[in-house]
Symmetry: C2
C-alpha cells in the first residue's frame, strides 16, 4: 500500500515512547472540552478516515471507538495540532453523553473555595440505561 501524505503527516507527530499522543476532544459547537484520551498512529488514522473518534486504551491495551458500547459516538469535524506536534485537539459532534457517568463532558467536577470537588453538571442520561441494558 502506498504511503499517503496523511501517513507522512501522522509519522511527523511526536508520540510518547509508548507510541501515544494525547487527544483532547472538544464539542464542535460549544467548544467545551468533552474528554482527553490517548491515540496511537493507527487509531488517529482510523479517526480521520472513518470520521469517528478511535483511541488506544492504556489500561486495557486495546483499540476502542468512542460509543462502541453506549452508541454515544463522536463525529469528527476537525483535527488540530499544537506547535510542539505532541498534542491533538479533535473537534467532534457528540451524540448523547461523552462521560460514562452520564454527563455531557468528562469534566463535571469543579474545585470549590474549600478545596473540594463539586459536581457542577447535570446528568443527561442514567448510566444504567446506557451500559447495563438487559442486566
Amino acid at each position: 500500500m502506498a504511503v499517503t501524505k496523511l501517513d507522512e503527516t501522522i509519522a511527523g507527530l511526536k508520540f510518547t515512547d509508548d507510541g501515544l499522543i494525547p487527544a483532547i476532544i472538544v464539542d464542535a459547537e460549544s467548544k467545551q472540552v468533552l474528554m482527553m484520551a490517548w491515540m496511537n498512529a493507527k487509531s488517529l488514522k482510523a479517526t480521520i478516515e472513518t470520521g469517528r473518534t478511535h483511541f488506544w486504551s492504556r489500561s486495557r491495551q486495546k483499540y476502542w471507538m468512542k460509543g462502541e458500547t453506549s452508541g454515544h459516538t463522536q463525529e469528527v469535524t476537525g483535527v488540530s495540532v499544537d506547535c510542539d506536534m505532541d498534542t491533538l485537539v479533535t473537534e467532534a459532534a457528540q451524540h448523547g453523553a461523552a462521560c460514562h457517568e452520564g454527563y455531557r463532558s468528562y469534566f463535571s467536577r469543579r474545585l470549590d473555595d474549600d478545596g473540594d470537588w463539586q459536581v457542577v453538571a447535570e446528568r443527561l442520561v442514567n448510566p444504567d440505561d446506557v451500559y447495563n441494558k438487559g442486566q
Copy 2:
C-alpha cells in the same frame, strides 16, 4: 504545616508514575483550548494558590510559571477534573499569546483534506518581540 482539604483533594488525583497529571488550559471567555501541559502536585497547588498557571517541564525537569519570560500569564478562573480523576481542565484569562510562536492558542494548525497541516490562526504578536528582547 497542617494538611488542608486542598492537600487531600490534590492527593486524591491519579498522577502518572512520574507524579504528573495533564492540564488542559482553556480560555475562560471563549472556551478555546489554549494549551496542554503537565502539572505535579506542587505546581497544581501553586496554580490554585497564586491564581497563575504553573507547570512541570518534563524536558527541562523544572517548574515554570506560564508567562514568566513572555509576560503572557494566565489568570486562573476555575479548575475542573474528569470522572477518572486523571486529567484537569483549567480555565484562565490569557494575557497576550499563549503560544511561543505568537498565536493565541498552541493549536494553530488544522488538518486539511490533503492530509497536511495548515496554519489557520493569525499571529497576535511577533515572537521576536517577546522572547528576544535586547538581542
